[in-house]
Symmetry: C2
Subunit: 263 residues, 2 copies
Amino acid sequence: MPEIAIAELEDFALELAHTAGGIAQAHFRQPVTVENKSPTAFDPVTNADRAIERVLRTAIEERYPDHGIVAEEEGERKGKGRYTWYIDPIDGTRSFMTGSPLWGTLIGLVRGEQPLFGLLAQPVLEEVFFGGPSGSWLIEADGRARLRARACASLEAAVLASTHPDMFTGDRAAAFHELGRRCLLTRFGGDCYNYAMLAAGHLDLVVESQLKPYDIVPLLPILEGAGCVVTDWRGDPPLRGGDVVAAGSRELHRAALEILQLR
Amino acid sequence: MPEIAIAELEDFALELAHTAGGIAQAHFRQPVTVENKSPTAFDPVTNADRAIERVLRTAIEERYPDHGIVAEEEGERKGKGRYTWYIDPIDGTRSFMTGSPLWGTLIGLVRGEQPLFGLLAQPVLEEVFFGGPSGSWLIEADGRARLRARACASLEAAVLASTHPDMFTGDRAAAFHELGRRCLLTRFGGDCYNYAMLAAGHLDLVVESQLKPYDIVPLLPILEGAGCVVTDWRGDPPLRGGDVVAAGSRELHRAALEILQLR
C-alpha cells in the first residue's frame, strides 16, 4: 500500500478534533448519563464519551478502511496496514463530569511502532495542542505558537503534577510519595492537561501509573516535539501505557527515574 | 453614615472584577516572578497577585475611604464604618503558576458580620460567579444563568472535591480520609473553582482546612444563594476561614459533618 502524505493525515486528525469538540461542548455541564464500567470500583463513562468515539471511529473507517483503531470505549479494531489510530474520546471523564475544563480529546496516529503525530483538543478553552514532524504547537483561533518545555534541572525546584494520589498502589505509591517529597510542589488533578502544560513550559514533571495506551500515545509527539523526555518507570518507551514519567529536561527525567525505578 | 444602595456596591464590585481579570490575563502563562512567603514551606506569591491586590485596594480606598479591607497580600485595613471588603487577588496561585485556569479573583463585601454579596471572577473562561440578595448567578458575555446546587442526598452517591490532600493534618487528615472513603468519588485540585462548581450543581461536597477568611467569605453568598449549606467542621459560620464543609443539600451536609466533627 502506498504511504499517505502526512499533511493529509494531520488535516484529517484536526477535522476529527473539531468534530469531537462540538459533541463534547454540547454535553459539557449538561445533565449527562454516567455509567460505571467497573464491577469493583467507580470507573465512569458518559454518553459524551460514547458519542465522540462512535463518530470518530465511523469517520476513520469511512476514510481509511485499512487503518486500525485503539480506543477507550469500544476497544481495538485490527487494521490491514501499518497505521493505527489511538483515541481517547474524553481523557479526564471525572473532570468533564464535574464541570472542570481540564480534560481533552486525544487523537494520535502510529505507523508500525512509531507515533507520527498526536493532538489534545480542549474545546472549552478553544485550544489544540499538536505535535508531529513540524514540531509541537498550541493552535488557537488567532494563530499558533510553538510549545517548548522549560529546563528545570533539579528536583528541588521542580513542580510535579499527577491526576490523583490513588492511581499509585503498593511500591509505586511509596516511590511517588518519595518523589513528591523531593520536589518543590506537587499538584493533583489535571489528567491529560498536565502533559499539555508540561509541553508548554508551565510544569516540570508529570508522573502517573495505570495508564492505557490511548492515554499516552497521542501525547508523545506533543511532548517530544517540545523537548520533553517521556518513558515508563524503567526508562523504556511507554507505548503500552502503564507507569509513565514525563519531564521537561533530560536531567530532571534522570533524577526522577532514579527515585521511581522499581527495585 | 447613610447606607449605600446595594446595587451601587455590586456594580462597583463587578468593575473591580473586570479590572482584576485584565491584570491576571496579562500575566497568565507569562514568565512570572514567584516568591516564597513562608520561611518553613513553599507558599508562593506572584507579581500578578500583588499587582491585582494593589489596584483593587487603591480603587476601594478612593471610592469608599471609610471601608475596611481584609486581603491576602497586604493584610487588614480597619474601616471606620460597618463595611469590610474581603479580597483574594488570585485564589489558586499554584494553579495560576502552572497554567491551569482553575483559579479566580475573589471579592466579597461584609456589613457588620453579614456577607452582603460575593463574586469569583475567572477571566480565562470569561466567567463571573456572583451571589447576593438577588440570588446566585453565572455571568458570561452572552447573559446570566441562575446557579443551583444539585440535591444529592447520600454520601454513597456524592462527588467530593478538595484542593490538596496535604491541607489536612493529624485528626483532620483521618476524618477527611474517612469521608472520602464513604463518597462515590474524590477529586483534588480546583481551589475556589470547586465552590463555583458546587454552586452550579456539578459537585456535591467541598471540604477543606486551613482556609483564610478571604478564601471563603466572598464565596458564601454564591453558595448560599444556590442552595448550599456551608459551615465550619463544628457546624458554625465559617467567617474566619479554617475548616470548611460546603454541601449541595442539607442532608448531605449533615452526613458529612457527622464524619468530620472533631471529637
